[in-house]
Amino acid sequence: MAVGHAEGPGQNLLLTRLEDVISWARSNSLWPLTFGTSCCAIEMMMASGASHHDLARFGAEVTRPSPRQADLLIVAGTIVKRMAQPLRTLYEQMPEPRYVIATGACVISGGPFIYHSYSSLRGVDDVIPVDVYVPGCPPRPEGLFYGILTLQRMIRERAGLKHPEERRAPVTAALPEGITKQEIQAEMLELFEAQGRRNVHEEYRRTVSDPGAKGAYPGRGERG
């Protein structure tokens, strides 16, 4: 939040600070549109609506069925040719500033339906601009959270009051540039520990560093 804006003539201190405050508020009150076409939508429901994962912790749980009340479009599920037009309409109905997260292999590249399909689009970015890609088929709820956290960081860093349109190049939430896998694991670790659940990533790291360790990664180790 403390990142100052690129200074130019006429840029005064108060306005810069105000922009920061607004981006901070905006990033923590994302209102996603309830939109899902297929499998990924169920995982999104598990993440956003259900009690276990609880998206409310990250300030993005107010899902809205109407695009006019939403500012975050989570594209969950395959987009086919026939759906492209309605999707574009939905996007254009959303008020500025609006953000798009593409979840799942299908909307990133076509996923399982990339070859031989006469109707599946190969990537939703042909239709609407995307801010964050979350890979997976479908991404786990934690993956979606990571995508939302990434978007929030982007909003805080870049999009200001005066530049709602300014975007930086879209990022993949799995491995954003400049962020190492270790950092992601550390962040996930916190997330898991906060939940008091068994920590898959920690166990996985132990298996990797100590190949002799048995049965650490769930469902893999003991089968060799």
Binding site: M46, G77, P86, Y118, G219
Partner: protein, 384 residues
């Protein structure tokens, strides 16, 4: 003479006020609508608040899976099948597996069949808990959603331990199972089943007796048994109309022939009966799982080389089984290659959907949400 073809525009141009009565109008529901659970689009022809006609418009998620299947090996098709009806992924896997196994003449052992049956029943529970939660939400009650998803999440984690995926699960393969069971599987399932036994009663107390729910379900969308058969309905929708047609009973597969269970059957075929049949099915599945988890025999879980190419003889093969939503069938037309010549899925949701064209006319516009929720539709399975 070549038969006449129509377009959607032709339908919209029909006579709006037949006989000079009140004027009818169209309302578009979907493809982006929270109650259609995806991208189903319904054109509602209304007269005031009364529905005159419902025209489903499909294709907003038609991915061309049948065409893709013609270019995939049989093992790869198993993986595509769980993207159809993702809430019954394992049942879909099983159906594809069965047709491939029968065509290739692969025999399985008792352990494999028991685990497959157990997984299918657990998934029926998982699917019905989600249905129950969403059903409540569609009627305007948010609490069921939280409860249904809470119980589902536990089960999802149990599946994840063994299968490695949360939703698009791939476990049942031609020749056996992808992995053996996780070492925590049996204790966790036992604990979950014990817990869930009380949850079903809680579900009943929470929603079933609710006066508003009753008012919105009883006598809404009644469908007689003959009509349901003619419309091709299967699964809980058909059974709610009084036809005891359950493939687990009439043509048993897996180890269902050794199991004892009741097929719940409704009377009137209204939304309430569909609700009740599914709640009862949860109880039956619970009892089945409790029996199965104690009786898993020893044995191998994969009987063929997992990477071996499968080449099927020429012919047309068909297998079907009972998923949580009805009869899922697979037609396989092989020409002796390692890829099918034609692969066709018989989708339970597509056939159940047509019931809406029969039960909706005459009802109020608010009832259509209850009817859709009662049919429990999964759109990607309809469109394929």
């Amino acid at each position: 003479m070549t038969p006449k073809t129509l377009t959607l525009q032709d339908l919209l141009r029909t006579d709006f006020a037949p006989g000079g009565g009140t004027q009818e109008y169209f309302v578009n529901m979907g493809p982006q609508h929270p109650a259609t659970h995806g991208v189903l689009r319904l054109l509602l022809k209304l007269d005031g608040e009364t529905l005159r006609q419902v025209i489903p418009v499909l294709g907003y998620i038609h991915r061309g899976i049948e065409k893709i299947c013609e270019h995939q090996t049989y093992r790869q098709i198993v993986h595509l099948s769980d993207r159809l009806d993702y809430l019954s992924a394992l049942a879909n896997n099983w159906c594809v597996t069965r047709v491939v196994e029968r065509a290739a003449g692969i025999e399985t052992n008792e352990r494999i069949e028991t685990i497959r049956t157990l997984m299918a029943e657990l998934e029926r529970l998982q699917s019905h808990t989600l249905w129950w939660g969403v059903f409540g939400m569609d009627l305007g009650a948010f609490t069921p959603f939280l409860h249904g998803f809470r119980d589902r999440e536990e089960l999802t984690q149990i599946f994840e331990d063994t299968i490695g995926a949360r939703l698009t699960m791939n476990y049942i393969q031609p020749g056996g199972l992808l992995h053996d069971l996780h070492k925590d599987f049996a204790p966790r399932v036992r604990a979950w089943l014990k817990d869930f036994g009380t949850k079903v009663d809680e579900y009943d107390r929470m929603l079933s007796g609710n006066l508003i729910a009753q008012k919105r379900l009883v006598d809404i969308g009644a469908l007689s048994g003959d009509e349901a058969l003619g419309l091709g309905a299967t699964g809980p929708v058909l059974r709610a109309s009084g036809v005891p047609w359950d493939l687990r009973r009439v043509r048993p597969y897996g180890v269902y022939d050794q199991l004892d269970f009741v097929v719940p059957v409704g009377e009137k075929g209204d939304c309430w009966d569909r609700y009740w049949v599914r709640i009862e099915e949860m109880r039956q599945s619970l009892a089945l799982c409790e029996t199965l988890i104690e009786n898993i025999p020893e044995g191998k879980t994969m009987l063929v080389k997992p990477a071996a190419k499968i080449r099927l003889p020429e012919g047309t093969f068909y297998e079907e089984l009972e998923t949580p939503r009805g009869i899922f069938g697979v037609h396989l037309h092989s020409r002796g290659k390692d890829m099918p010549w034609r692969f066709h899925f018989r989708s339970p949701n597509l056939h159940n959907l047509w019931c809406i064209t029969k039960i909706a006319p005459g009802a109020r516009v608010a009832d259509i949400v209850a009817m859709l929720a009662g049919l429990d539709l999964i759109v990607p399975d309809m469109d394929r």
